[in-house]
């Protein structure tokens, strides 16, 4: 490990960046889970759908920033539709039914997205959105550490967004309402908070998070339906961090991201490589055996 300190630094950086992106996907899950108790399987496809809409609109001749705004509009419409068509009729059903419904949403969005924009991978319009490209090369530790500007931007934007969310939750009226709903649906209802409105807001927020994740991940590789599979990595992150904790999602994302990169880099070659696909789950499992509710999850006290 000491032989190539520059590579170690690079590995940690790579892990950090993918950790941030995992955390962003996980954040979408947490937002929805907190407010509506729905384990939103569709978050992965929402990321793809948002990015596809953005690129698809741009390809149809809409200017880049107008496309962003229109995409936000689409995500809002999606949130309203989901609330009206799926959540409202299913209120008070067991969690697993709502989980199942989000799978229906996933299926629908896959078909809908592909029929609108086609299934071929598309390039993210990173330049048009003034995202930086190129790399910062640091000559340190007797080697080269190269930081992609887009990755730095991803980290900065993610931190900004998390800060914004924190402010939104802490200091605004809607934020307080959201926290109230997260604590208890019934109590929130009884003090006059409209659950339906809160759900729309929360799904829309998750949609915004999805769009940003989609832009960032799309700029790193490509916008295609394969991204949906990457989004599954958010599951160990969630489990590690706890389903209900935003800081948990972030810390979990970083642990998983850095852990799996280091693991693949240093131990992968010993057993044939490609262990990244399952290492994240074993890391999460290891943590869980000592803290069954996740790092920051609420401990559920069961009584008979």
């Amino acid at each position: 490990m000491v032989q190539a300190p520059d590579l170690l630094v690079q590995t940690v950086w790579e892990g950090l960046v993918s950790g941030v992106l995992y955390a962003l996907i996980a954040l979408g899950f947490v937002l929805i889970f907190k407010a509506s108790g729905v384990f939103n399987f569709a978050q992965g496809i929402m990321v793809v759908f948002a990015a596809l809409t953005l690129v698809g609109l741009y390809e149809k001749g809409v200017p880049a920033f107008l496309a962003v705004i229109l995409t936000l509009g689409v995500m809002f419409a999606l949130a309203v539709t989901i609330e009206r068509v799926v959540l409202r009729p299913l209120v008070n059903q067991p969690d697993i039914i709502l989980f199942m419904a989000t799978f229906g949403i996933t299926y629908f969005l896959i078909g809908f997205g592909e029929s609108l924009f086609g299934g071929n991978p598309k390039q993210m319009i990173a330049e048009q959105l003034y995202l930086p490209k190129g790399a910062v090369d640091l000559q340190i530790l007797g080697g080269l550490v190269s930081l992609q500007k887009i990755d730095i931007a991803a980290a900065v934007i993610a931190s900004l967004m998390i800060a914004a969310l924190a402010v939104f939750f802490q200091y605004t009226r809607i934020g307080r309402a959201l926290r109230a709903v997260a604590d208890s649906h019934k109590a929130a209802l009884s003090v006059g908070i409209s659950l339906n409105q809160i759900w729309v807001i929360v799904w829309f927020t998750a949609g915004i998070v999805a769009l940003i994740t989609g832009i960032m991940w799309g700029a790193r590789s490509d916008v295609s339906f394969a991204l949906e599979i990457v989004a599954l990595k958010a599951l160990p992150v969630l489990i590690l961090g706890g389903f209900t904790s935003i800081p948990g999602a972030i810390v979990g994302g970083l642990i998983i991201g850095i852990g799996e990169k280091l693991g693949e880099f240093y131990w992968g070659p010993l057993i044939g490589g490609g262990i990244e696909s399952w290492l994240a789950y074993f890391i999460a499992l290891g943590f869980l055996l000592f803290r069954p509710q996740g790092l920051f999850g609420d401990k559920i006290i069961e009584r008979i």
Partner: protein
């Protein structure tokens, strides 16, 4: 009128405890079996049998397996596909090591290996539960899938890295391999599914099944009543994985006939089976069949049925429509009847019981 229990008296304990205590149920089962045994093989085309019925049977068995774990014991698993894979690969290893032993026996035995692996990955269930437990099974899913590709011993060092299903016969009738007709393969599947369903039905209605349900409903209470959680949960993992393993072996040997098995047993399959269970009805054997029928036959029917009916929709567009329709149907079903198709079935039976005078 047509369906009621009034007037059917039980005169012995055995008849009271029968799996199908009602005459109508027995008639119904006989009709279903007659359709399955006679009508389908003789009237169905090869395409129907090979692409609709065999997948349906395989998925039904896998769904029963998962239902035992999730529906009856309340433990969520997202690693079903991997446990199926264990069954498929063990069956492949077994049949190359013991080519003389009948393939049906080996398919049944290969489930045991799957059960063993299932117990191993079920151990964390003692400490964690709910969606958190899902991570343990996800670890199984991704680790096992990786192993299927990375451990060449499992696929006999084939250059192609795929399972190549050899021909195996019974009374000189080929059961597996390319020469096996869809009808033969269908009959083998049907036989296995019927026997194993009967087996599952006996387990879930027996002592073990009741202890599982107790654990599902309230594990602490179950423990207080003297049910050993460790044994009950691990037994659920074992039995569930056994069914999944057999389904996996059937999938490769009787349906796919070889191929890139590691790719087949992916997370997508795990999710699909979980959804079959939920759509069909948690904690219901017949629901597993309904769920499997819904999610395995519907896409095929839409894809090939629509063009056959003269609706000119093909290729990618058909695939998109299929995705959207399945998604919409899942949501509609959940809204109309969140307890799954099995509940609809029960309601239907209830209605029949009082028909035609419901008041």
């Amino acid at each position: 009128m047509l369906y009621r229990e009034a007037g059917q008296y039980k005169s012995s304990y055995a008849s009271d405890m029968a799996v199908f205590p009602l005459k109508e149920d027995r008639i119904g089962i006989a009709v279903i079996l007659a359709i399955a045994l006679v009508a389908i093989p003789f009237l169905g085309s090869d395409f129907f049998i090979a692409s609709v019925m065999i997948p349906f049977l395989v998925f039904s068995l896998a769904a029963i397996g998962l239902n035992i774990l999730t529906g009856y014991t309340g433990l969520i698993s997202l690693g079903t596909a991997a446990f199926m894979g264990v069954g498929a690969y063990s069956c492949y290893k077994l049949t190359t090591l013991f080519p003389g032993v009948n393939i049906i026996v080996l398919i049944l035995v290969s489930g045991l290996f799957s059960a063993g692996i299932g117990v191993l990955f079920g151990l964390p269930s003692l400490r964690i539960k709910g969606f958190y437990l899902a991570v343990a099974t996800l670890a199984a899913q991704f680790f096992l899938q990786w192993a299927f590709v990375r451990v060449p011993w499992l696929f006999n060092y084939n250059a192609s890295g795929a399972i190549e299903v050899p021909q195996r016969t019974l009374f000189n009738i080929p059961l597996t391999g390319a020469a096996a007709t869809p009808e033969t393969r269908y009959f083998v599947c049907l036989g296995l599914v019927v026997v194993l369903t009967w087996f599952a039905s006996n387990i879930v209605h027996g002592k073990l099944g009741r202890s599982w349900m107790a654990v599902r409903d309230m594990d602490i209470a179950a423990e207080l009543m003297g049910i050993k959680l460790l044994n009950a949960k691990l037994a659920a993992f074992a039995v569930s994985s056994y069914f999944c393993g057999v389904a996996g072996a059937m999938m490769i040997f009787l349906w796919y006939g070889g191929g890139e098995a590691a790719d087949v047993f992916s997370i997508r399959l795990s999710f699909n089976i979980l959804f079959m269970v939920i759509i069909g009805g948690l904690g219901s054997l017949i629901g597993s069949f309904f769920g499997a029928a819904f999610l395995s036959i519907l896409p095929t029917a839409l894809k090939f049925g629509l063009p056959a009916l003269g609706i000119p929709i093909q290729g990618a567009a058909a695939e998109h429509v299929t995705f959207m329709l399945v998604g919409a149907l899942i949501i509609t079903f959940l809204i109309v009847e969140p307890h799954g198709l099995a509940r609809l079935w029960q309601i239907g039976k209830q209605k029949l019981r009082t028909w035609p005078f419901p008041y």
